[in-house]
Chain length 428, copies 2
């Protein structure tokens, strides 16, 4: 007998069939037992007159033969009238009730018991949104004739300098884990002009914050023959629009389940130059931090609130960050070389994307490294790309977990991550 | 003036336009200079009467204004008559001539100078084939309602036991790099039933062979409610068929460029049980290795040749490998528990895929670990999944670089990898 999945039930009304899955919830009354059966896609109500099913532990795996019928009171208006229940795997029931719409558990419990609690539909929805985000990210770039790449994770030298890098014992000598595919995506611009990667990056982040992880999924883009960082910002807006459109169109039920409000993408994302942003943040927060060459989390939040109030936009570009706070490969502003052709995109008051134009001439790299007092040797193969001819180029990186965190309104990035890794956590 | 890319030239014949790219080759005669201009997608012949272009070094980046015209003798029948050439970046020319159809360089040179030599159309074709393979792998599984996942790369314990695992300094304590997403893809079968991942895996492979790397891209699949490993083998054949179909349909020019012969997928892939395979290999090679619980590379080659000769198939399933050579989570053959419900897929005489049915009952895991004399503690969170109810399941992993190596007939996996990592190589 053919197995029918929850996603297909409406096409099989009236049929005698088999459904399989986990016992998500059980309640009995008046000699009748109602089971919520969960499979990989959804849930269905099962009704049985055999009371022995009521004693099967929650999360046990079962095979149920029965007839799918209309039932006005059942969720989705369909229920399975069970005629034969077979227990495939007996479970120890989880410590937390899975049957409610939301999981009533604190952060430590949710993380410690993620192996089981991530089976909950609301947790699962977050992961499906992440899958949809990756898929739409790639599709929007494929349409623009980008090539997907996979770059090495073992590297000889730290990308952004020595901080926050993990060291590996590489056959008896030290190697590092790539903090980003930055160097390789730039090198590969020399091959394909337009490249993207969806891959894990590694940051030895020594701070315990709600927005940092020690490994996360980076959605990286790099493109050639740009005019400036403006070309990159346009591409970013195009990609984000596609991602938001896809979530809205294909993941409405997941968004609903986690109570997410999908952002509207404005026709043009409002923008502030760093110098304007600093002055504005001063007036908004009352705290003068104009001497700091970066935006603090508090400044980002206040600027985000300002953009929403003034422009009705949940997105805000801040451009022109001081060169002193950007990595050595950053292209300066042609007319004000203290500032850079770079940007951050704030989304709901949090930095979601960093990007910009890069240097593309070999001599400029030698100058930049020399000025920074950094030895050139460890960058030899990276610099080879520029020695052998590179066009003006730039790119950006979106943090996948931050995107999901902000879209769904999670208060901690760990809640937007299937199995988060941080300073203290290596399991599950 | 709008920039036109090589991929679009046929739609712009007769137009005055701009093309950008790298100087791939130059030759002059009779006062006319012919330039092969390469951009991220292809090449176009440029003809110029201004001889100064002949002195621009190869690989320099240029912007060329001109008119696209039909030219019977030019490749593709089109050439760009240049009226204005602007040099964007002057290059140091590469040590190896890029203008030939194939690169005449040995393996060490190809690897040492990969930053530049991978710009060559024949090298680029390999990477485009890899991108096409990843994309069609995902598309074929999306159609089958799989969910894409991203699993942690930092793990607390080595997946397959202690061998070949890289150790990381994780904030002052040891962590390991995941040798595969095995444990997490199984755990996530408990969430989605059907999952896949495209991601980097790490193997501290102490042998210097033509088919091993220390990091590679693994195309991982895991699925629930299977009958046995046979269900998994059917899914694998479906996925591989889709990948081959996609390469044939959308990557004909790349396959041609690298001289690849795409394999035909037979209606049913021939199969041998391990015991049959051992006996047959003895008769084929004359060397009796039936006491060895695995197939040697020589046996794999001879069996591959046998399948081609006898069945006209470049693919061969070998099933039922001895339990002693398979990891502890392997499901035994129900009737002959010395052997397993597992398989390897040989492609052109090389193991391309490993897969099988896994144990799914908690008690079976405890038995298997105990019998193997392995402490249970480090597997606690993995085992939680089975304690809390798991269905029969199984899966497989395809090595992306091996697939590209075997499809394109490379003699060394390093040649099928953009920037390979091995015992001795961490750069470029």
């Amino acid at each position: 007998m053919k197995r029918v999945r929850t996603r297909e039930i409406h096409a099989h009304l009236g049929e005698h069939l088999v459904m399989c899955g986990w016992i998500h919830a059980i309640r009995s009354f008046g000699g009748v037992t109602f089971v919520v059966l969960r499979d990989g896609w959804g849930t269905v109500q099962v009704v049985s007159e055999d009371e022995s099913i009521a004693t099967v532990p929650l999360e046990s795996v079962v095979r149920i033969e029965g007839t799918l019928v209309r039932a006005a009171k059942a969720p989705d208006g369909v229920e399975l009238k069970a005629s034969l229940v077979t227990v495939v795997s007996i479970a120890q029931p989880p410590a937390i009730m899975m049957g409610k719409r939301t999981l009533s558990a604190g952060l430590p419990t949710l993380l410690d018991q993620a192996v089981v609690l991530n089976r909950h539909p609301a947790r699962r929805a977050l992961m499906r949104l992440a899958a949809g985000a990756m898929s739409s990210f790639r599709a929007s770039l494929d349409e623009q004739h980008f090539t997907e790449i996979q770059t090495p994770k073992f590297v000889e030298s730290a990308t952004e300098g020595g901080a926050n890098v993990f060291t590996v014992d590489y056959f008896g000598r030290p190697a590092y884990l790539a903090q980003s595919p930055q160097f390789y995506k730039q090198i590969m611009v020399g091959m394909f002009e337009r490249v993207y990667e969806v891959g894990t990056v590694f940051r030895a982040e020594p701070h315990d914050t709600v927005r940092h992880l020690s490994e996360y999924v980076s959605l990286d883009v790099e493109m050639a023959f740009i005019e400036s960082h403006e070309t990159v910002m346009s591409m970013l807006q195009h990609v984000l629009s596609a991602m938001i459109h896809r979530l809205t169109q294909q993941h409405a039920s997941e968004l609903d389940l986690v109570g997410a409000t999908i952002p509207a993408m404005p026709g043009e994302i409002p923008r502030l130059h760093f110098t304007e942003a600093k002055g504005l943040a001063w007036s908004l927060t009352g705290s003068d931090e104009r001497d700091e060459p970066d935006l603090s989390p508090a400044e980002e939040r206040s600027l985000g609130a300002w953009a929403l109030k003034t422009h009705g936009s949940e997105f805000l570009f801040v451009t022109g960050y001081p060169m002193v706070k950007r990595p050595f490969y950053t292209h300066p502003e042609p007319t004000r070389p203290r500032y850079s052709n770079s940007f951050d995109l704030l989304f709901r008051g949090l930095e979601l994307v960093t990007g910009g134009q890069r240097l593309h001439r070999y001599a400029d790299y030698i100058d930049a490294l020399t000025r920074a007092g950094v030895a050139i040797g460890p960058f030899a193969s990276y610099l080879d790309a520029f020695r052998h001819g590179m066009p003006p180029h730039g790119g950006f990186a979106i943090g996948l977990e931050r995107f999901i965190m902000q879209v769904t309104g999670q208060t901690n990035i760990r809640l937007a991550t299937t199995f988060p890794r941080d300073l203290g956590r290596l399991a599950p």
